[in-house]
């Protein structure tokens, strides 16, 4: 027999207690069929000065276009609700299991965090 390969750590509990908070400078545009485009301003890096900036154009904005489901997740990121609460809401709205919803929601959150339109706040008492 083998011994367990299961993780005995706290698993994904810490991730679920995190609170996604929208970037205050995010600008929202509602499109057709429930799509939402989130635009945030980027800081110009110090090295983006002529003559480099003449060759490499600097785009001062970053856009993320979300489909209807992504827009729903974005709408629930109000800086108050935890990831767990968003996952529960999304599961209830679409008749999904907790883990189906968790994978879908965290996929969207990851995309939003990578694009800098969302930040994650971890509770203070967590390590």
């Amino acid at each position: 027999m083998s011994t367990t390969g299961m993780t005995t750590s706290s698993g994904w509990r810490q991730m679920l207690t995190a609170v996604p908070t929208p970037n205050v400078s995010a600008h929202i545009t509602h499109g057709l069929s429930g799509q939402v485009t989130v635009t945030v301003k980027k800081t110009r890096p110090g090295f983006m000065v002529p003559p480099l900036s003449w060759i490499v154009p600097f785009n001062a904005e970053r856009c993320v276009t979300l489909d209807a489901l992504g827009a729903e997740v974005w709408g629930r990121c109000d800086g108050k609700r935890s990831v767990e609460a968003i996952v529960d809401d999304f599961a209830a709205a679409h008749r999904l299991t907790f883990h189906e919803s968790r994978v879908a929601v965290t996929g969207y959150l990851k995309k939003l965090i990578e694009r800098g339109v969302l930040a994650i706040l971890l509770p203070e008492n967590d390590e």
């Binding site: 027999m1 011994t3 367990t4 299961m6 005995t8 698993g11 489901l69 767990e84 679409h94 883990h99």
Partner: protein, 275 residues
Amino acid sequence: MLQFSRGMDSGRCAFADRYQFRCELNWRTVPGPPDFDRMMSDYSTKLSEKGVEAPKALRLGSWRGVEGVRDGLLTSHYGGYLPGEHCLLELVLLWPDRKQAELERRIISSIREEPVMQGGLRHWQAFGMEAGVHTDVAPFLESCTVNPAHVDMIFRNRSKQREEHFARRGLVKQWLEGSVGDWLHWWLPKDFEMESQTSDTIDGHRLFMTTGTRWSWGIRRFFRQRLRCHAAAWICPQDERLYSVGLISHPSLALTDARAAAAMLSCCGQKGLGV
């Protein structure tokens, strides 16, 4: 179930609650029944080496086990043997709050060999699907795709003369354009020509059934060799998921029609819709 293996000879499934893994089942086929006394003694030693504090021997029916605390977490390890399948099993349960003896007993008593069902079908239950799979393909889970609200299992026998597809999709309102019948036509495997499509309503489920054929090429076509596909799909009104089943086989093996295909997959407690 968050992790799984497809192999029948050895593999592992892991189950979780919303916060962490709670249960793991490992299996391995062995030539004969194991010497459990020796195995459990070795196992206790191994667990002690791995940091399990004060392992305690357990016994539940024919299952033998060891319980101990590892990384501050109470863990039960059980070993069992299924003689019909020559399969050695290891069950690991993690108890983050307190041990639930009744739950443990129920889990262990649920692990057993399933007899072959009527019609030569083996019972498979996973990811919200309950399917009867033909015995000649049941051991060969060729692929299992699990995405949020989308599960697809394909069984295929070694000679590739028979394939069975079972799928369950959620968020249907978000992606389904047109009717389930149209979708079923699209879902037919590549190169299959649709021959017929019918529909019926059974216990509130609108069932679409289709039959298609794929002709072989070259000399095989000369001998009129072809594959037949019977497929069925429906949306269950209870869980609003789209269920689909497809059977592909050589016509000589095609014992079923599309209605019989539908009978091989169950939803919301309905034991197959085609019957």
